[in-house]
């Protein structure tokens, strides 16, 4: 749908365009094809990551059963994924409520750390403050290369937290970092499609954690 590269030479062509019905038809066609693409990517990602999800969920459930808490972080849209993840664990549609903390919610903390020590440490410093051995650090980065997310994982691993990373782009820094114990990767070139698939991964991860917690908390 991108404009012709020479379109700026002939602005009157677009400016006089009046075929509204044709545009609406084209928009709907585009939306439907992107919906199918998103659904296909989510299904394929869940299928390909099945073992990774299972291993991460088993480790997370073990942490929760020992009293561990989940700490979640991300930037921009991924910050809202972190916030939504915390909501999902705290107030699940079914199953057991599990302790979770969002590191993106407090603007006093975020701006104090950004101003005083730099944005690269905005989550790492909170991991120092809140993280205990046996807690779980969950970070989202569609690029897999956000420095503040990587620094938080390094700090978390140093303190014996379990670390779970969700990102796009195979080969990105997060996918090869020793500090990330379980990395779930979405294979796509589109930030939007990656983000949608990350949501699906996290929902599946949460659902599997619930199953393991329920299996193991009773004799």
């Amino acid at each position: 749908m991108s404009a012709e590269p020479t379109g700026f030479l002939y602005p009157f062509i677009d400016a006089e365009e009046r075929d509204e019905a044709a545009l609406v038809t084209e928009l709907a066609r585009s939306a439907q094809s992107k919906m199918a693409e998103s659904r296909g990517l989510r299904s394929a990602t869940l299928e390909r990551c099945r073992d990774g999800i299972d291993a991460a969920a088993a480790a997370m459930a073990a942490c929760f059963l020992q009293g561990g808490r989940l700490l979640a972080f991300g930037n921009g849209g991924s910050a809202t994924d972190a916030e939504g993840t915390v909501g999902l664990f705290r107030h699940p549609p079914h199953g057991r409520s599990l302790p979770a903390l969002s590191l993106v919610d407090d603007q006093a903390v975020l701006t104090a750390l950004s101003n005083d020590v730099g944005f690269e440490l905005v989550f790492a410093r909170q991991v120092i403050a809140h993280g205990r051995a046996g807690d779980i650090a969950v970070g989202f980065s569609t690029s897999g290369g956000s420095v503040n997310i990587l620094r938080a994982f390094e700090e978390a691993a140093r303190r014996d937290l379990l670390t779970i990373g969700l990102c796009g782009y195979e080969g990105a820094a997060m996918t090869v970092s020793d500090a990330v114990h379980h990395c779930l990767v979405v294979r796509s070139e589109s930030v939007h499609r990656i983000q949608e698939a990350q949501d699906a991964l996290m929902l599946e991860l949460w659902s599997t954690v619930q199953r393991y917690v329920a299996q193991n908390e009773r004799p």
């Binding site: 509204e20 545009l23 928009l27 439907q32 199918a36 659904r39 929902l203």
Partner: protein
């Protein structure tokens, strides 16, 4: 979680895609005319913030930043009433049963706002918003975390920017005519009471502007109540003050 079978989902997606196309054209026109979009997601506050950041900070370099503000549900009514300007957009992201959304949408016309309701699950009955974009056949609580909900506003953003590539279509279409009465061509408009004056007169917001109207035909009202006003007279009370 099981993503739905392709055959089941494609029909539902076709309907949602058609909603998205119409909404994106309208949204681009409203933005082009200078609107700010006020985003509220009472059940899922993270979606309110996510949709706002999509528009303010485009993921694709070179796309224009558009004014969108996320508002907490707890004081959304007072914030939007105070800060929104006539011609702005109210975007609600919620399930059909959310009462805070219903309360906001009921007031949008009195504040002079056009409204867009984005959601999943059972489609809302009637036409409580100017435009409705709905993904049916899914559990809204699951859709909010499965990627479905974020997909819907990602597409709203993507298509809105496609419309911006067609400047000839950015001029608004015909005015809405659904409020015209067959006998007097002015059936009545929703107004929100802002202050009660002596002699059964009340100050109201109507289309985002302040007016004083005669409230002698309706039961006593208080600020926040909604009225149907015709020719300077309140003819019906539409309900109580916002909770």
């Amino acid at each position: 979680m099981a993503l739905m079978e392709s055959s089941v989902v494609s029909g539902l997606e076709e309907s949602a895609a058609a909603d998205l196309a119409v909404a994106s054209l309208a949204l681009a026109r409203w933005f082009a005319a200078g609107a700010t979009m006020w985003c509220v997601a009472p059940e899922w506050p993270s979606h309110g913030r996510h949709v706002a950041v999509e528009f303010v900070h485009p993921v694709i370099v070179g796309k224009r930043a558009l004014p969108a503000v996320s508002v907490d549900a707890a004081d959304a009514i007072s914030v939007v009433r105070l800060a929104a300007r006539p011609g702005d957009i109210l975007l609600a992201v919620s399930s059909a049963g959310d009462t805070c959304t219903a309360d906001l949408l009921a007031r949008a016309d009195a504040w002079g706002l056009t409204s867009l309701w984005l959601g999943a699950g059972s489609r809302p009955k009637g036409s409580p918003a100017d435009l409705v974009v709905w993904l049916e056949g899914v559990d809204p609580a699951v859709a909010s975390r499965s990627g479905d909900m974020v997909l819907m506003y990602h597409l709203l953003w993507e298509l809105t920017h496609v419309v911006f590539e067609h400047p000839g279509l950015l001029e608004p279409g015909p005015e809405r005519t659904d409020e015209v009465c067959v006998t007097c061509s002015d059936e009545g408009r929703v107004a929100e009471v802002t202050a009660v004056q002596p002699d059964r007169r009340v100050e109201v917001l109507i289309g985002g502007r302040r007016e004083v109207v005669d409230a002698s035909l309706v039961d006593p009202v208080q600020p926040g109540d909604l009225l149907l006003v015709h020719a300077g007279v309140a003819i019906t009370s539409l309900g109580g003050a916002a909770s």
